[in-house]
């Protein structure tokens, strides 16, 4: 009886082996496509980016630090703008996100923690164009009234600028920092909490002196990915940043008007200028150089965040 069914079985086994091999190769190809896409982006954008230096013969020093480049502004306005926006945005976002993360893990009853986490994650789903329009409708008037009442001058600022932008990007990165922090706090073993409480520490002391240091690497990962998101944010920032060619801080201080704060960042400059450019030319090339800079910054920040995560003790 066995000898009758044997060839059939063998055939079935061979065909399933062929399928197994095909499936293995198929998913490997899909994985390779993803790597290929990223490599293509780097090569294509890079090939345009370096024309600034190779074809247009502009030295990197001139490109990044001279004011005689890119409409007599220099790209320093833009890089300085991006860095200031990241710092100001994180200044608002980090305390808020980390506070909420500790609330969810340490204070809230489980049902409330779940609801709050869902709300925070829903923030991630709100499109940037909506954030931008809300910025125009709500945040700009808010900033305007606040600064003008402090300055005692109704016409001191129109409200658009880096402060309104920082406020908006803070809410955009809040879910990123919060969820990563929640995960890393939740990964801390119970014994650490119990040990601290058993020694007589209050809950706040436990959070500040035990849980915060223990989850710091996780929180830092969130902060770095948040920074990457702020640097890359375009539409929401473009609607509120004001678009003036002033280096935030330095130029404003010179005019004694730090809190007016209209400036430009890398993304918004590319966003506004790219559609107006011809198919070639030094200005277009410079926009590609800035784009490649954005891409490189993302890659570096990802690299740093991975390095931090791999050093963390509790996962």
């Amino acid at each position: 009886m066995a000898s009758v069914s044997l060839p059939k079985q063998r055939k079935a086994r061979t065909s399933s082996k062929v399928w197994d091999r095909a499936g293995n190769i198929g998913v490997l190809i899909m994985g390779s496509i993803v790597v290929l896409i990223v490599a293509t982006i780097f090569i294509f954008v890079g090939s345009q980016a370096f024309q600034t230096f190779t074809v247009d013969h502009i030295s990197p020093g001139t490109f990044f630090f001279s004011k005689d480049w890119l409409y007599s502004q220099g790209t320093l306005v833009l890089t300085a703008g991006s860095i200031s926006l990241v710092l100001l945005g994180l200044l608002i976002a980090v305390p808020l996100s980390v506070g909420i993360a500790f609330f969810i893990t340490e204070l809230a009853p489980p049902w409330l923690g779940r609801i709050l986490r869902s709300i925070v994650e829903l923030f991630l789903g709100i499109p940037s164009i909506i954030f931008g329009l809300l910025g125009v409708a709500i945040v700009i008037p808010l900033v305007k009234n606040l600064i003008n009442s402090v300055a005692g001058d109704k016409y001191f600022t129109t409200g658009d600028g880096i402060f309104a932008a920082a406020f908006i990007v803070a809410f955009m990165v809040l879910p990123t920092i919060t969820t990563i922090s929640v995960d890393s706090i939740a990964a801390i073993p119970r014994e650490l909490r119990e040990g601290s409480l058993a020694l007589g520490a209050t809950r706040w002391q436990t959070i500040l002196k035990t849980l915060l240091p223990a989850s710091l690497s996780g929180i830092m990962t969130g902060v770095i990915l948040g920074a990457a998101r702020i640097i890359g944010e375009t539409i929401a920032v473009a609607l509120v940043i004001g678009g003036s060619p002033q280096i935030f801080g330095i130029d404003h201080l010179k005019n004694g008007q730090l809190f007016i704060g209209t400036t430009s960042v890398m993304t918004t400059q590319i966003f506004h200028d790219f559609p107006n450019q011809a198919t070639s030319g030094p200005i277009l090339d410079s926009l590609w150089t800035l784009s490649f800079l954005l891409l490189s910054i993302s890659a570096v920040l990802v690299f740093v965040s991975r390095a931090i995560t791999s050093r963390s003790v509790y996962k």
């Binding site: 399928w19 499936g23 500790f102 520490a201």
Partner: protein, 318 residues
């Protein structure tokens, strides 16, 4: 001697007092901190509710039947609504085989640690790359047909697909495939190893195990990950401005032409802001309302459906 013992008692008392003070202070700080954290949680909830009610109350007066059914961009958003879903479906068709296929590779097959590390780095870089940049890349590679670069005798040109739905869908796929990959990898990894071992022990090949055991068990998670990715696709603007272009013509509204420009809701909301006309404020309020309702419905149902299917299919709680 007695004097020194009194002094000792005093220091002991003084020390006890200091310790008590310190404890009291710690308790006050604890109260303040607890209050602050509750305040933060309340604040963020209020901000979220404010955003949603603000958009809904602003947009509601402009919602009418014509608003949904008219393909004329001066009256309604039918064309943009159609394009939004058309581009969503197109991009999912491109994304799902690549994203879920690669997720199967990383969660089930990957053995080459070096390739896996490269893949993960690529995915994370693509996740945090600005959508603007993907838009520019899409413009260069998909839209334009100019020479990009040449290596020796080989010259690479753009695909020359023009500002079109297919260019837009390709850019959306590039932008969101890492999200789909990561979320579906999580879904596949959540399937208990015992199921795989049982299937392999019963003589199934790895592929049979993946196809008939792992994927069915991961369906709830995969559906959730596709829905969450869809929410992101629908809200995308920056990448589409340089790829899908604006197509305001009523004539093109409902044909399926891949080579036609396709303006989505999110892009429409932006262009109503950047190029205002007489009634663009109302149209923008209405468009924002539809957009946020769509995104919230998709994201909330992703959660609810994920939990529901999880209990139903996999017979375990999330």
């Amino acid at each position: 001697m007695s004097a020194s013992s009194i002094a000792t008692t005093k220091t002991v008392e003084a020390r006890a007092k200091i310790a008590a003070n310190r404890r009291a202070r710690a308790r006050i700080y604890d109260r303040i901190a607890t209050g602050t954290l509750w305040g933060l949680a309340g604040f963020i909830t209020l901000v979220f509710l404010y955003i949603v009610t603000y958009i809904i109350s602003k947009g509601l007066p402009y919602i009418s039947r014509d608003f949904f059914t008219s393909g004329n961009p001066a009256i309604g958003i039918a064309a943009q609504l159609f394009n939004t879903f058309y581009l969503l479906i197109l991009s999912l068709l491109i994304m799902i085989p690549i994203g879920i296929g690669a997720a199967i590779y990383t969660s089930e097959y990957a053995q080459n640690q070096r390739f896996l590390r490269i893949l993960r780095f690529a995915v994370e870089t693509l996740t945090s790359a600005p959508s603007l940049l993907i838009g520019l890349f899409g413009f260069l590679f998909f839209v334009a047909n100019i020479k990009i670069f040449s290596v020796g005798p080989i010259t690479v040109h753009g695909m020359g697909l023009q500002f079109s739905r297919i260019s837009g869908a390709l850019a959306l796929a590039v932008l969101n495939v890492p999200w789909l990959l990561r979320t579906s990898e999580d879904a596949l990894r959540a399937v208990p190893g015992a199921l795989r071992e049982a299937s392999l022990a019963a003589g199934a090949t790895k592929w049979q195990t993946t196809l008939r055991v792992v994927i069915p068990a991961a369906i709830p998670g995969l559906v959730t990950s596709i829905l969450i990715t869809s929410g992101r696709v629908i809200g995308e603007t920056a990448a589409l401005i340089f790829t899908a272009g604006a197509g305001g013509s009523v004539k093109d509204a409902f044909n399926l032409g891949l080579n036609r420009p396709g303006e989505t809701l999110a892009y429409h909301a932006y262009s109503l802001y950047s190029e205002p006309s007489t009634n663009s404020e109302g149209l923008r309020a209405g468009t924002s309302l539809v957009l946020i309702v769509l995104v919230l419905v998709i994201n909330i149902s992703a959660r609810v459906l994920g939990n529901f299917l999880n209990n139903r299919f996999a017979g375990r709680r999330a």
